[in-house]
């Protein structure tokens, strides 16, 4: 009897797990699920676009689910592996190779080919990041590079202004250092510096920018080996530590406090993502502006990532059609999307007067031709913590640079070996 009971229970449990097979189309309406991690003001913007899409399309209904980024990828991955995946979802460009390589997301080559000339409207770097091993897996929705935010009040107080009396952001290393010097002060005379010219906020994006400007990267060009011990990388790390120890215009990394430092007017310049714009707009009494990142090294380059729109591999034809329609709609309406703190990647939208009136977005969009994505590898997400730990150790003087990069290199290579 016991066995029978157990068996019955198991049967109930097992049958309960299987989801009912979703019906594609009910009364001529195809309902599709759309997942993303836009928990901030960007989510409100996205909701508005989705509502508008639903109003304009009688035969498609999009249901959006917002999941916080820190658990987002776990949910997406588990749903792709064990069922319950959405029909359209967002991946960061830096995570795309993992899902493309595992064939968990759908190849879009045929669909893209049918777009004809429209494909030339996307900016080349974002478009390239939608590919993996020569195949296209996504449509880029946007690009979010970091750029320079600067406190215009502090600039004016330090006399760093142009002919019209407006705050003038630095564009070269020399200007950056000179401005930084003028902006680093002990304002209350207690012998402790309490206003900094510059501060490191997110080490990943800041260090990636410095590396890219010196033609260095975390991984070798073929992404099969760690490369942060290269002489070029050493130059970049050298400049990063010099800002702290030699030029003294920047404190040691302060983690979460760093960004607050800029928000409350204790720091004059930061390199942060366009997506932080709304966090600054909320700050009362802060007058700021945006500018392209200065050129510190050999060439202009800056960290950037993109929200990529993808579909799961297993998707019925009807749902594919609806999802494709929706993805294109989002891209076509990315002007609206950019207002929440993003840069669109459609040339036709970038050229509109309406976009050029968005002050910070327009300034950051100038970086699109030289934005540098993280290395395209299935291991990028796994190795970045080692990279960041090395930068953290170097900037905090926890160990000599040589040791830190050697240790990180070894750990990165270990991960790459098991790919």
């Amino acid at each position: 009897m016991l066995a029978a009971l157990l068996l019955a229970l198991t049967a109930i449990l097992v049958s309960g797990c299987g989801k009912p097979r979703p019906v594609d189309t009910v009364n001529g309406v195809t309902t599709i699920e759309f997942w993303n991690g836009f928990t901030g003001p960007d989510g409100k913007t996205m909701e508005k676009i989705v509502r508008q899409f639903n109003a304009e399309h009688k035969d498609i209904r999009v249901r959006m689910q917002i999941i916080p980024w820190n658990t987002y990828y776990d949910k997406v991955t588990l749903s792709l592996a064990f069922g319950g995946a959405p029909d359209v979802f967002i991946l960061h460009a830096s995570r795309l190779p993992e899902y493309a390589d595992a064939e968990a997301i759908l190849r879009l080559d045929d669909k893209v080919a049918a777009l004809g000339n429209k494909v030339n409207d996307w900016t080349p770097r974002a478009w390239a990041a939608a590919h993996w091993k020569g195949r296209q897996y996504a449509i880029p929705l946007d690009c979010h590079p970091i750029g320079m935010y600067y406190n215009t009040d502090l600039f004016k107080k330090a006399g760093i202004v142009d002919a019209n009396g407006n705050a003038k952001p630095p564009t070269t290393l020399a200007e950056f250092l000179a401005d930084g010097k003028k902006l680093t002060k002990d304002t209350d005379g207690d012998g402790r510096i309490d206003q900094w010219g510059y501060i490191y906020t997110w080490l990943r994006t800041n260090a990636h920018t410095f590396l890219a400007q010196y033609d260095a990267s975390w991984l070798s060009k073929d992404t099969r080996h760690a490369a942060i011990d290269s002489p070029e990388a050493s130059q970049a790390f050298g400049l990063m530590t010099d800002l702290i120890n030699k030029y003294k215009i920047c404190p040691k990394p302060e983690g979460q406090d760093a960004w607050n430092g800029f928000r409350i007017g204790k720091v004059a310049m930061v390199l942060e993502g366009i997506y932080m714009l709304s966090s600054l707009e909320e700050q009362k009494g802060l007058n700021f502006a945006g500018a392209p990142c200065p050129v510190f090294g050999k060439r202009a380059a800056v960290w950037g990532d993109s929200h990529m729109m993808v579909m799961p591999k297993k998707l019925s034809a009807a749902r594919q059609k609806a999802a494709w329609e929706f993805m294109n709609y989002l891209s076509d309406h990315s002007l609206e999307w950019s207002k929440g703190g993003q840069v669109p990647v459609r040339k036709s939208i970038l050229a509109t007067p309406e976009f050029r009136e968005l002050p910070v977005q327009y300034q950051f969009s100038k970086e699109l031709p030289y934005v540098v994505y993280l290395p395209q590898s299935t291991a990028t997400n796994q190795v970045m913590p080692f990279c960041e730990a090395a930068v953290e150790a170097i900037l905090n003087d926890l160990m000599p640079e040589k040791e830190a990069v050697a240790e990180a290199n070894r750990r990165i290579d270990n991960v790459l070996k098991r790919q």
């Binding site: 302060e254 406090d257 150790a393 905090n396």
Partner: protein, 301 residues
């Protein structure tokens, strides 16, 4: 069959729990071990059997070793200090005076609070620039500095969570505060079981309160102490929430704990087999420590 007939009603009542226990505790334990023998990237269609390769890799992995040493450091800080504090509180609350219930509730409240709430509260206390602790330390430092500038430097701020030296002790401090109330209750129950007549006899024999504690209460409390120590060693080896929320394992791996490392392997790198192997190695280590504790502390009948 006879046993079955006699106990069938008991079995029936035990059935729901047994089923749930088998489904949600025993089978994941077994399944976890099976996974640990496979290389399984979660998006790959099928796990591949690799034998003990994951275990060999774990033992060679220097980050696992770092995580293990950091966790052991945490255990060494938290278990003795936490148990001493719990016992002290319990002895204090075992006296006859008014208001003990209030204090019991006050000390036990943190135990009932979820780790995320505790961690967010302490993040604010520990914040270098805006934290409450540094606010008072700065005031004290400044006051002492103005009184005796030669002896005291003015800067008393501590980089609680942002320095590799202080991060783990800071995590330990909050963990002691968080967990003290739980063991306190168990010690309190143990103290109530100490026969009053023995204590009175000792008092008549002229023992001081301290001698009474040392010669009567402490030996009789040994089973309770063993239980509390074993449970807190097991619990402390599994420290996760505090470091996950407050430091993410940093700065520079100084608060990387074994469970956090397992979590990172499993849920940001999706190496399920490897993560399971990490879990099982920790299980083996904790088992050894537990057996040692029983051997050293158990009461001879």
């Amino acid at each position: 069959m006879k046993i079955w007939n006699r106990n069938k009603y008991a079995a029936l009542f035990l059935l729901p729990y047994t089923v749930l226990f088998l489904t949600f505790v025993v089978s994941p334990i077994i399944y976890g071990f099976v996974i640990s023998l496979h290389k399984w990237y979660i998006l790959a269609p099928h796990p591949t059997y690799v034998g003990i390769a994951n275990y060999a890799a774990v033992l060679k992995d220097d980050l696992f070793r770092i995580a293990f040493m950091r966790t052991a450091f945490f255990v060494i800080m938290v278990v003795p200090a936490g148990n001493a504090l719990s016992l002290l509180l319990a002895v204090g609350l075992n006296q006859d005076y008014k208001g003990t219930t209030f204090y019991k509730v006050a000390y036990y409240l943190p135990v009932l609070t979820s780790v995320s709430v505790v961690a967010i509260l302490w993040r604010w206390l520990y914040s270098t620039e805006f934290g409450l602790l540094n606010y008072y330390l700065t005031k004290i430092g400044f006051a002492l500095h103005t009184m005796a500038p030669a002896i005291f430097s003015g800067n008393w701020t501590v980089n609680w969570l942002s320095s590799t030296k202080t991060a783990m002790p800071s995590i330990a401090l909050l963990s002691v505060w968080w967990g003290a109330g739980g063991n306190m209750l168990i010690y309190l129950a143990g103290l109530k079981n100490v026969p009053k007549e023995l204590l009175e006899a000792a008092e008549i024999d002229g023992c001081t309160p301290f001698q009474r504690f040392w010669a009567v209460t402490w030996p009789l409390l040994k089973p309770t102490t063993l239980f509390c120590l074993v449970m807190s060693v097991i619990g402390s080896f599994q420290v996760f929430g505090q470091t996950y929320i407050l430091t993410g394992g940093g700065p520079y791996y100084s608060t990387l704990t074994v469970i956090l490392y397992m979590f990172q392997q499993g849920f940001s790198q999706y190496q399920m087999g490897y993560a399971s192997a990490v879990g099982y190695v920790l299980f083996a280590a904790v088992l050894v420590f537990t057996i040692l504790q029983f051997k050293m502390l158990s009461v001879k009948k």
